[in-house]
Each structure stands twice: as C-alpha cells, then as structure tokens.
Symmetry: C2
Subunit: 175 residues, 2 copies
DNA sequence: ATTCCTATGGTCTGATCTGGACGGTTCTGA
DNA sequence: TCAGAACCGTCCAGATCAGACCATAGGAAT
C-alpha cells in the first residue's frame, strides 16, 4: 500500500468494476466512452494501465480468459470495494474544473476582431446545441438509475452553454 | 520551432502577456487566479515553467529586473503575438471537459446509500450556490471587456449546477 | 482458400502536467 | 532589530496524455 494514491481514474475503474462486474480494459473503455466519457474524457491508455496499477495494491484482481485472445479480465476485490465505499462516503472537496478552450479564447478576445468573436460564438453555440440534442435523445424517459440521472446535469449544462454563446453571438463584447 | 507544440497553458501565458503587458511568473499566477483560474485551475508551477519553454521557441522573451529580487520578466514577441492570433482565428475543436468528482460519485451512487447521496447532493448544491454568489459579486454591472463577459458562463453554469443538485437532493435517484 | 476489410483489442513512449513540499526574500510594525 | 506576514520561486516523483503502432478475429469478396 504505502504511498499509493487513488486518483479519479482509479475510482472510475473501481466503480465500473463494482457496478458492471468483471471487465476487460476494452470493456471499461467502451463503458466509459458512452457514459462519463461524454463530459470527462479519460484517455483509453489509462484504462489499460490503471487496473494493472491497482492490482499491485490489491484493489482489483486480474485473470486471463482461457481461450481466444486470453484477454485480461479484472474484477474488484473486497479491498477495492472498501476503498470505493470510502470514497463515496467522503465529502467531496473542490469544485469541478471546466476546461473550455472556447471560453479561454473568449477571455482573450479583446485581442481579436468582432468577426472572430462572432465565428467563435456561433461555432460554440452550434456544438453545444448538437450535444444537447444527443443528450436529450439519451435521456428518453425518467432516469432508471443514478448513472442515468447524471445526464440531467449534462443537459442543464449544454442548455446554459448554448444560451450563453447565443447571447455572445448576438451581442459580441466589442466596442 | 520544429515539433514544438503549444498547449492551452501556452496560450494562456501568451494571452496574459499580450493583454496585460510584460509580467513576472508571479504576476501571471495572480492574474490567472482571479480570472480563468476560477473555472480552469492551472498549477502555479506551470506559470513558471511554461514561459521558459516558450522563450526557447522565441514566442516570449525574458529579462531580469535590475534591482531587488531581479525577477524574471517575460514579454510577448512578435512571433508570440502571431501564434496567439493564429490560435484565436482557428476554429475551436472539441467540447469542454467537465471534471466533476461529485458527478462521478453520483454516477456510481447506485452503490451508495440514500443518505450518502443526499449528503453529496446537499454539499454540492451549497458549494455551487456559494460560488454563484461570488461570481455575482464579481459581475457588478455590465461587462466592460471580453474577459469580463466570460463570467456570464460561470454564472449560468453555477446556477444550472445548483439547481441540478437541489433536485437530486429533493428526489434522490434511489428506489 | 486466399486476400482484404473492418471492428476489436492492446501496448508503448516521450512529453507534459500536477500538486505540494520546501526554501528564500522583502516588508511592516512593534 | 526582530518576528511574522506576505511575497516569490524551484523542484521533483508520479500521474496524465495523445496518439502512433501492433495484433487478432471474423466475415465478405475473389
């Protein structure tokens, strides 16, 4: 154990294994891509290396498929379950990071022309509206699980962002 | 130049130098902390190392204060200005990452108790409301610059997030 | 039955990022 | 003149990252 530290990626893996059962890294990657991956992109290489790291710490255990590709299959251990539970129980510190390159550009757009701002705002608006449609499609009907209810924040965020960029497009902050 | 690649941090530095004039890393850190740093946290060590990296690429130049601490003062070069301009001009690809540990927990909260979800939702709601108040205080009056108008998205986001967590607190997604 | 295509599945690497420990310096006022 | 506070900066081990690259399986066309 020692100085081993669990990162968000670790808990992502633990959570996926706990709720989805034993999985190969590839399955983790798939599962993440069509859920949390929408708002928090984890590089797939992490989903391969992280379980291995956690195996050493005894939080997951690794087996091999018998036939075929003999893929690695990871499953959560009791220690892993305990760590996950602990994390879920702890108060969550800090607010989310919103890494938004578009917003960063807007922040510096005093250095740009009105046309550039307009183009930026329109593109951002369109992208957010498109993503909004996607989320609305995914959220047909009331949420069946906690996981599904998270899409609600995605929808709220996309709506807010689309509205914001719309208003920028209509009134570019340029003298 | 060669394979040198500019990251968001690079443009952050370029943008700050372009709009705020020559600055020491410490000043950059201050400027970032009270602006973009609210929604995208850049570790301060980056604001020390990145300008040095860019000096090699000729995008900024470094001088020393004469007296006192002889601090390093960076200023943007013409090449830097061109790179920044180029970036502002390019279409922005990809949607923002929202790295939200609270949301990640909610995602896995099928594994938690109703009380845990409740506690999480209330804490998140409170944190977002507090941040909302902060932003609203910062945004007294209409925005005077592009930089100031970005606070609008912060406000919209905090409102949406606070509302979302409120609704979770009222109706925890638990059977 | 060989080739080709596509989806599946996985590894590796160099560069970058991260956060926080740690240390030094200048200023202010008692 | 001394202490404390604010200011300022460096360093580093481990985590992250993108994406190039490789390999296998199964099906369809030749």
């Amino acid at each position: 154990m020692s100085t081993y530290s669990l990162t968000p990626t670790s808990y992502l893996v633990l959570g996926c294994l706990a709720s989805g059962g034993p999985s190969t890294p590839y399955e983790l990657k798939q599962a993440v891509a069509e859920s949390v991956g929408y708002f928090w992109s984890f590089p797939h290489s992490q989903l391969y290396s992280e379980p291995a790291r956690m195996t050493e710490a005894g939080l997951v255990k690794e087996e091999r498929e018998e036939g075929g590709r003999r893929r690695r299959v990871f499953s959560i251990t009791d220690a892993g379950r305990a760590a996950l539970d602990d994390w879920l129980r702890q108060p969550t510190v800090g607010l989310p990071d919103i890494r938004d390159v578009g917003l960063l550009k807007l922040f510096f757009s005093d250095l740009a022309s009105r046309d550039q701002i307009l183009a930026l705002a329109q593109a951002q608006r369109d992208a957010h509206e498109e993503r909004l449609k996607l989320y609305e499609g995914l959220a047909a009907g009331p949420p069946q699980s906690a996981a599904e209810s998270t899409i609600g924040l995605g929808i709220a965020w996309e709506r807010a962002a689309a509205a914001f960029w719309s208003s920028i497009a209509e009134h570019p902050p340029k003298v």
